[in-house]
């Protein structure tokens, strides 16, 4: 995949992912009666005092909505290819503010991967402004690619080291606890042999993900399986943000796998 094409697809997918997340944040504001800022703010360290003062102002309903509105506009601008250094910096700052608003994460891993992508975007623009744009983008895409591949590699190997995953038992139990669960009584995933085969298949696939860097065809295959995997995670666990957050990083993996060393 050429650098230009990788950048464009990455921007569109990251912008789309941010757009969806932001629309959800806006809706959550009217749904949530639990995680309210007057309680959450107690955890913000008292010093430096100006930070807490600013956050208390910013996370009032109207300014918070305006902040999300700005993020929405930036997401659309990113999709249209109109984000420069300032835009990337703003997206990064808003991401940090959202971490403070939601006790470090609203939706766990998807927030982490979104931050990786935004950091890569910022890195690309900073390095690009100091040297030249292609070098900046190469740095940004490599950062994103290594983080993405690490996420699969770590996730796969920690599971393979656990006996409950090797036996397939863990997969059935986790699927039972999913938000769209439990599994039907006659689900195929209750069959121990099927569960074991599925567990081994996707944990070995995750653990072998660094192989994707060797060849662009391998990278396409790994990314295609990854897309299916994230879709299934959505189907069972409702994690739609994970789907889009990881998909947005695939252009980086595809570019890096085809890069000449």
């Amino acid at each position: 995949m050429s650098l230009t094409l990788a950048i464009r697809i990455f921007e569109v997918l990251l912008g789309w992912s941010l757009l969806l997340q932001t629309l959800e944040y806006l809706r959550v504001q009217s749904l949530d009666r639990v995680a309210v800022w007057p309680i959450l703010q107690q955890e913000i360290p008292a010093r430096p005092a100006w930070i807490k003062f600013c956050l208390n102002k910013l996370f009032q309903p109207r300014p918070y909505k305006a902040l999300l509105g700005l993020r929405l506009a930036l997401a659309i601008a990113l999709m249209l290819g109109h984000i420069g250094l300032i835009g990337a910096l703003l997206l990064f700052l808003i991401a940090m503010l959202l971490l403070l608003r939601w006790r470090g994460a609203f939706n766990g891993g998807s927030d982490f991967m979104t931050l990786v992508a935004i950091t890569g975007l910022l890195l690309a623009h900073i390095v690009g402004s100091l040297t030249d744009s292609p070098l900046g983008w190469r740095a940004g895409l490599w950062y994103i690619s290594l983080q993405t591949i690490s996420s699969y590699f770590v996730s796969g190997w920690v599971k393979l080291m656990r006996p409950e995953w090797r036996s397939g038992r863990a997969m059935t139990l986790f699927l039972d606890t999913g938000v769209y669960g439990p599994l039907p009584a006659k689900s195929i995933f209750r069959n121990p042999t099927v569960a074991r085969i599925c567990s081994w298949s996707f944990t070995v696939w995750e653990g072998c993900f660094p192989i994707a860097l060797l060849d662009v065809r391998m990278a396409w295959m790994f990314c295609a399986v990854a897309a299916l995997f994230h879709f299934l995670v959505f189907v069972f666990f409702g994690l739609n943000r994970f789907f889009w957050a990881w998909i947005a990083t695939f252009p980086a993996v595809l570019y890096c796998s085809g890069a000449k060393w």
Binding site: R27, V34, L99, R103, F106, E164, R241
Partner: protein
């Protein structure tokens, strides 16, 4: 000579080695908020005791309900792939229960858990659930809520998925509404 491939191989080898080691954790208020900068990428890695929230309520007549599990169960809809605020909110609320369990485990001697933000948030969640709160259009509990609530009480129980194994980690006092 280009050392990039070697560096990449070294990186993943180092990553593999660190997976086998149990490192110390660095803690601090700002680090907690910005832990997203240091993701460990360990999702669903093992079956462990898991905190679950139970709540019961007292009607204005003085009768207490049974203990009810507060746990997100929602129907899958295709449009959730692009817009899923209720489920994501429900998962965030379940995370609060996990964080409260962590706070209880890490509580220094002489400290009152009720001062913790996680306790206050879970208390709000419990009250909302027993009073008929919903995630989207789905109630937070399988059981009927109490409409004439005068007090409520919640428990955090540690349960082993797939077994009946359970122990009580925390029981709140009876909290008037």
């Amino acid at each position: 000579m280009d050392f990039t491939p070697l560096l990449i191989v070294a990186y993943f080898a180092l990553l593999a080695i660190t997976l086998r080691k149990r490192g110390g954790s660095i803690e601090g208020p700002w680090l907690f908020f910005f832990r997203a900068f240091f993701p460990n990428w360990k999702f669903f890695h093992g079956i462990n005791l898991t905190p679950r929230l139970y709540v019961r309520g007292q009607s204005k007549m003085g009768n207490w309900s049974d203990w009810c599990l507060v746990y997100p169960r929602l129907p899958l809809k295709p449009q959730h792939l692009v817009h899923n605020p209720a489920v994501n909110l429900a998962l965030t609320h379940q995370n609060l229960v996990d964080h409260l369990a962590n706070d209880i485990n890490d509580l220094p001697d002489g400290t009152d858990i009720r001062e913790r933000v996680t306790y206050q948030l879970v208390s709000r969640l419990a009250r909302q659930a027993i009073a008929g709160g919903q995630w989207g259009d789905r109630p937070m509990m399988a059981e009927e809520p109490l409409r004439d609530l005068s007090a409520f009480q919640f428990e955090v129980r540690m349960e082993m998925p797939g077994t009946q194994s359970s122990y009580l980690m925390l029981q709140s006092p009876e909290i008037p509404t």
